[in-house]
Symmetry: none
Subunit: 407 residues, 2 copies
Amino acid sequence: MNRLDILKKLAIKTESKMVLLVMDGVGGMHTTDQPKTELELAKKPNLDRLALEGCCGRSMPVSYGITPGSGPGHLGIFGYDPLDPAYDIGRGVLEALGIDFKLEKSDVAARGNFCDVDAGGVITNRRAGRLPTEECVKICKELQDAVPEVDGIKVFIMPVKEYRFAVVLRGEGLSPAIADTDPQKEGFKPKDIESSEDSPAARKTVAVLTKLTKKYYEILKPRATANSMLLRGFSSHPGMPNFQQLYKLTPAAIATYPLYRGVATLAGMDILKTGSEIADEFTTLEENWSKYDFFFLHVKKTDSYGEDGNSAGRIKIIEETDGQIPRLLALKPDVIAVTGDHSTPPQMKGHSWHPVPFLLWGKYCDFDDVASFSEGACNHGRLGMFPAQAIMEMMLACAGKLKKYGA
Amino acid sequence: MNRLDILKKLAIKTESKMVLLVMDGVGGMHTTDQPKTELELAKKPNLDRLALEGCCGRSMPVSYGITPGSGPGHLGIFGYDPLDPAYDIGRGVLEALGIDFKLEKSDVAARGNFCDVDAGGVITNRRAGRLPTEECVKICKELQDAVPEVDGIKVFIMPVKEYRFAVVLRGEGLSPAIADTDPQKEGFKPKDIESSEDSPAARKTVAVLTKLTKKYYEILKPRATANSMLLRGFSSHPGMPNFQQLYKLTPAAIATYPLYRGVATLAGMDILKTGSEIADEFTTLEENWSKYDFFFLHVKKTDSYGEDGNSAGRIKIIEETDGQIPRLLALKPDVIAVTGDHSTPPQMKGHSWHPVPFLLWGKYCDFDDVASFSEGACNHGRLGMFPAQAIMEMMLACAGKLKKYGA
């Protein structure tokens, strides 16, 4: 029996409340040039107190040496096997969910870029010179009004940010098995619409998209900039079992960035409106405390600063988050888990495969002798190194939400 | 290839002798109220010596956060995947094996309760007021004599303890896919016999059991108490490969409680007659030392006292067991492993998911710097945290009973 089937069988509804605090990319790395990580350098008395009272370890997001994208990173934390192709979340789906679009199971979504092309149709700038968001909104509206549907298939085109947009097709008998039109390089033309499979649905979708892109190209052509567009990441809702079905939870997500709201939506979480600051997210937590028994609270900027190679920025965000922990404790949660979805060492300016510090806090967590929430300290924790997928089941167990397995 | 197939291929018969000492539920938990576990509090110089000379770690019975019942807990220790549905041991099978009934592969077994019902047939006491065992023995004999078979199917009904009994059907073409008649609640009538599948074997079994229960109800009806009965956990021998086939061992089990003898029987172990004290079990070990090369010695009361929330009782049992270790060492075993099938923290008064201290002792165990057999100490051991299923293969390896894998 697979792990999710077992959890589904064992999970029970109780009064206890859990908070999963994900500091995106919080894991760091030790190098000769920078021998201490941001978690090791930051002043974070509250997180350290949770570590002292809790049980620590290091979470392996996907597998040894595998650097996860944000999608797989969060899938793992939420208990889904990020290597299971059934849970493969396409970029199009993530983009659509991230702008709070109500994606239906049979929709086909794609991520789009407005781009610049020369007179011969060759791409000269894949991002249309980082088009301002207002301009993106305007163009999308124009395209939406001009092409509301194709051959009876509804078309939604929606601005995301700067040059980025999302397109969703809605109707009967569509397939997401469509190749990118984006060649991922300048100096090439956008590719024709093609399918990777031969099926009636794929043929129908190719026909619809060929007509649609032709219309879009015609409308965009006269423009000085953003005079063409590229599509990639065609995909549909993976239809995974949600937190209600799997864990008997009433879950909510608090996240400032679209992508994370998107993954949380796939897992069945209610997306709570929140502000742009970390303190705003904790205010949202307080305001909604009585309505849910599981909260996913996502702090983005530990990752963003990591990607920028900004170690000081990461330290600041860790300290800022730490300052909010007393507000979380004041709510008297039963179980808290703190971790990241992957590491983002500033030395690498990007995501990495390094296992991520993890702490589990709660009455039955079985505290260990780790007194600091950091890579080095968590490495000696009682939980050892474990797959990120175990996080939800450990939280549930600690909250008394799992029955015994077998007689 | 799955792990058991590999072990089957690699295992060789040798002269070396191994002892697996399972202290049921020995793992404890650290809480603010009770910051030291029983293993950390007990005086156990002999177990600590084994830890010092051996190699330690923590065994994960089933999976992170999953609390095992005794069946899955022992299956894992014996090397079988407790999540594999092929090894799912039904309650009926466990009950029958526990009273040393020689279950055949095609038998269908159920666990039974004598209960009280009112004039309308509604259950008023699911356990017939904790019927005395002598009475249970008497009723079972009466039912056995009255109904030795139904439609050519042999019926065995056997007392277990108090209100509990086991029923086994023996004959051709039976199915264990039968639902419980026990509604698990008072205020309801026993359910009719129904099957969860539609097959000739299921229909035949339903017909036999319907006649059988009707006869039992008629015989019991005139009684003042225990005037009805309930059946649950219909199941058949899981037919797993045994220790002889898998590991080339000649194995024996020493256990005072039925359920553990039952699981050991499924694994192909000879069940040795023993007394009720821990010292009796070690006497049985001494007396049978020359006849076997693998001994499973089970100490029950670490678990029982844990379930009672009795920390002092657990400490006493650990110390009592410790006192017997010199007798074990005097036999000059080649390999010893000591662990539990799960944790039973007295703070939780029940089984828990927390990983269990483990020690492996033997010439080639690769000793580490752990000097105490306890949760905290074993956590820093060389073996780290590992699945319980790895215990048998580590013991076999350490005893020189596994060939090299591949050229």
